[in-house]
Symmetry: C2
Subunit: 240 residues, 2 copies
């Protein structure tokens, strides 16, 4: 059995290496990559079936890498090992995991024991292991209550990118009014009004900008999500 580790930080990488050795005696080879790009390449070359991967990496982040890896071989088992449980990450991962694939999401703050258990569960038993904290987010995020629909999230990303209503309409194939409808819906859910008007007339917020701010503060968006969205946007722009 072979395990591929994809992780930026040398300290964390060697820690993972040890953890893998300790948890999986049946594993005879461990290979390492220090960024997403290298990770993809190694996964392809070695036909890796077992991967442990960080989400936040400079060159090409974990979600990007995982997507292309899973596209090539959907049965690959991936354990995401991340510092954060940003809703943006959780949503990003949920979007790309293939049907029936075994994967895991464990926080770096988890104990050695938990990490080892997760390694065995996923790689040996093919079971999904999602950190409790992440699980909670996932439920409320994908469930309708208090969560955001895909279309709501989509428009959130669009205004975060700085598109005008008109541009969004064109991009998503909607009328201007529909875009604005969705915006209102979004403003509602993000509670932009509460913080906005308050009592006085003066403390007003710019709804559109404020929505993005709140989304950021709530980690519904983060840098990596923005980066990804920006890349998609450019792609779309080039395709006229």
């Amino acid at each position: 059995m072979k395990v591929l580790i994809v992780e930026d930080d040398p300290l964390h990488r060697s820690y993972l290496h040890e953890a893998v050795n300790a948890a999986l005696p049946e594993c005879d080879t461990v290979i390492e990559a220090e960024n997403g790009t290298a990770g993809e390449k190694l996964a392809r070359d070695h036909k890796s079936a077992h991967i442990v991967m960080d989400l936040q990496m400079a060159s090409r982040n974990g979600i990007e890498a995982a997507r292309t890896i899973w596209k090539e071989r959907p049965e690959t088992r991936i354990l995401f090992w991340s510092n954060y449980s940003d809703e943006a990450y959780v949503r990003g991962v949920s979007r790309i995991v293939p049907d029936g694939a075994a994967y895991g999401y464990v926080l770096k703050s988890a104990s050695d024991e938990r990490l080892k258990l997760a390694l065995r569960s996923i790689f040996i038993e093919s079971q999904c292991v999602i950190d409790r904290e992440v699980r909670g987010l996932q439920q409320k995020s994908l469930g309708q209550t208090n969560g955001f629909t895909d279309s709501e999230y989509e428009i959130l990303v669009d205004i975060a990118l700085g598109l005008t209503d008109r541009a969004i309409a064109k991009r998503r194939g909607l009328s201007l009014r529909s875009v604005q409808n969705r915006l209102q819906q979004l403003y509602d859910k993000l509670d932009v009004y509460q913080t906005a008007g308050d009592d006085h007339e003066d403390g007003r917020f710019n709804l559109r900008a404020r929505a993005v701010t709140i989304a950021f503060l709530r980690k519904l968006l983060n840098y990596s999500a923005l980066e990804r969205a920006e890349a998609e946007l450019q792609e779309w722009l080039d395709g006229k």
Copy 2:
């Protein structure tokens, strides 16, 4: 000699601990804190004069902590040890360092050797040690060319928070038109137009939102800067 380490990540913390021991034989005590709040408290209790600190921490980030520590005892020597050289961090640090204080900014990607050297330079020789990469940013950031004035940065933060022109005017004691002037200035510097109109009429951006996006992508803003700004805003709002 006593050294205080303030760092989230246990692995990095113990690495730092070892590095300090190796680099500073004259150091007899090392104490550790795992977040900014605890760091402040320990610094106060122990009257720490030598601190190594991460910037990105969950509970209270390094900049916040450093500010209050320096406020109480400006001669404290602090070495910032960070993963990133976001312009937002660099600017944040430059703002709070007291006149003549010895401090350092070293990236986590630096070699053991560099870290040890920095430790000795700052704590023993009272010299400032700024990572080359960070230094570059600092120069161009604070120098006028291609850098952002304080007033430009200020208004960038304000729109990133989602304030309206009117609210900004009130907050900063300016007229509406002046606020809009500064916005235009900002749009210019951020090159919002280039990406905006391009050729066609359709691909238009919402300048205000786009400026924030670009600032984020360029790491002129980041989560921690936003968080800080939001806290200041709330404070201002409460003070009517």
